[in-house]
């Protein structure tokens, strides 16, 4: 378990644990998705599906990287700015939306089975679980005898609460919903994420 701002030094680069583990979570998510469409629900044209999923991730990553240049035209003239600026503000949300729109458009255009979106749903839950289990989120002070210690007082281990509920959602998705009921696993993923965030709201700070 890592504190979100804990730093790993690799040569002259310093990487914060939350960034590093976000990358790990995305890779895990992609691997899970690939397994799902190739082995669990054998989607026709599975190779093309995973290729476009990878493109969606790359487009999302590019949007995240170049977001400051969409919002700050004054950065354009100096090419060195392209090295130094990345993300910030709403970059993550925009990157997720752009990647998702790209993939949905491809699914719609190629008339792929909705089972592909079911794979995306479970993969997203699994990726969020991976991130939550590794990166500490400090909540408000807890009356319980366990939690993350900050400034001499125990605080809600919100990431553990969240990862437990995400794991249950993955379990429900796999055990309760038949894989032939297209679209239901995707729908469950969306509903689960919303409900988990509502449940976590009282414990989260800021």
């Amino acid at each position: 378990m890592f504190a979100p701002y804990e730093t790993f030094n690799i040569l002259s680069f310093s990487l914060q644990s939350q960034l590093l583990l976000a990358v790990v979570a995305i890779v895990t998510s992609y691997a899970f998705f690939t397994f799902y469409v190739k082995r669990v629900f054998v989607v026709t044209d599975a190779e093309a599906v995973t290729d476009h999923a990878l493109w969606a991730l790359l487009i999302g990553a590019a949007t995240f990287k170049f977001w400051p240049f969409f919002t700050n035209v004054e950065l354009w003239p100096d090419w060195r700015n392209f090295i130094y600026y990345v993300g910030g503000g709403q970059a993550l949300i925009v990157a997720l939306i752009v990647g998702a729109i790209y993939f949905c458009l491809i699914v719609w255009r190629k008339k792929w089975s909705v089972a592909v979106m079911d794979g995306v749903g479970i993969a997203v839950l699994f990726g969020m679980f991976t991130f939550s289990i590794f990166v500490k989120t400090y909540g408000g002070p807890t009356p319980l005898s366990f939690g993350w210690e900050l400034d001499g007082r125990l605080h809600h281990p919100v990431n553990l609460y969240r990862s437990w509920l995400l794991l249950l959602a993955v379990g429900v998705s796999i055990l309760w919903i038949d894989k032939d009921r297209y679209g239901q696993r995707a729908l469950l993923a969306v509903v689960a994420i919303v409900l988990i965030e509502i449940l976590m709201r009282p414990f989260v700070i800021a």
Binding site: P4, L150, D151, W176, L199, V204, I205, A206
Partner: protein
């Protein structure tokens, strides 16, 4: 399979029930602890300025002003890019917000840091973190680190890496509107 499903349903109901109960018994979720995390009270800073005068962060909040903390070093290319934007924020919003630069001096050379300040013609408060203790508490490196703190002393946002003027301004405006 059926038992597995029933077991999972039971665990799910117990879990949801537990979190709903916990939310009821625990209404004290204010981030009163001092920590460099978003939502918590910003750890106090007591450092010397470049001119030798002392500085205490808590006094800023005692005067009802929000603060913008900016950790930098002279050799950092990201700081080279961001400092002009921080300076613009001080010029535009300096009357309403305390802009504070903290040189991570234990990773820098004093003369280089002074040259850096002159080169960028910064007018905001500049502090020397000689032992790197404050930087360590705020969990730097990586640098630059920008921290937005409201007038109550709570961290409203933090950002590692080069920052643009629009990002700085958006968060400063949010802080000022919150204080109104």
């Amino acid at each position: 399979m059926l038992r597995l499903r029933q077991g999972l349903a039971l665990i799910m109901f117990i879990s949801v029930g537990f979190f709903l109960w916990l939310a009821q018994v625990d209404d004290d979720v204010e981030g009163t602890a001092s920590s460099a995390h978003k939502g918590f009270q910003a750890p106090n800073i007591q450092l010397e300025r470049f001119d030798g005068r002392s500085f205490v962060l808590e006094e800023v909040f005692a005067n009802g002003r929000p603060a913008l903390l900016y950790f930098w070093t002279s050799w950092c290319p990201y700081c080279e890019r961001s400092t002009e934007h921080v300076q613009r924020i001080d010029e535009t919003y300096g009357e309403n917000i305390e802009v504070i630069g903290v040189n991570v001096a234990n990773q820098d050379v004093l003369t280089d840091a002074e040259v850096f300040i002159k080169k960028h013609e910064t007018t905001f408060t500049q502090l020397l973190d000689k032992e790197g203790e404050v930087s360590s508490v705020y969990q730097t490196p990586p640098i630059p680190l920008t921290v937005w703190i409201d007038e109550q002393g709570a961290i409203s946002e933090r950002r590692t890496g080069a920052v643009t003027y629009s990002e700085l301004e958006a968060n400063v405006i949010e802080l000022l509107e919150k204080g109104d």
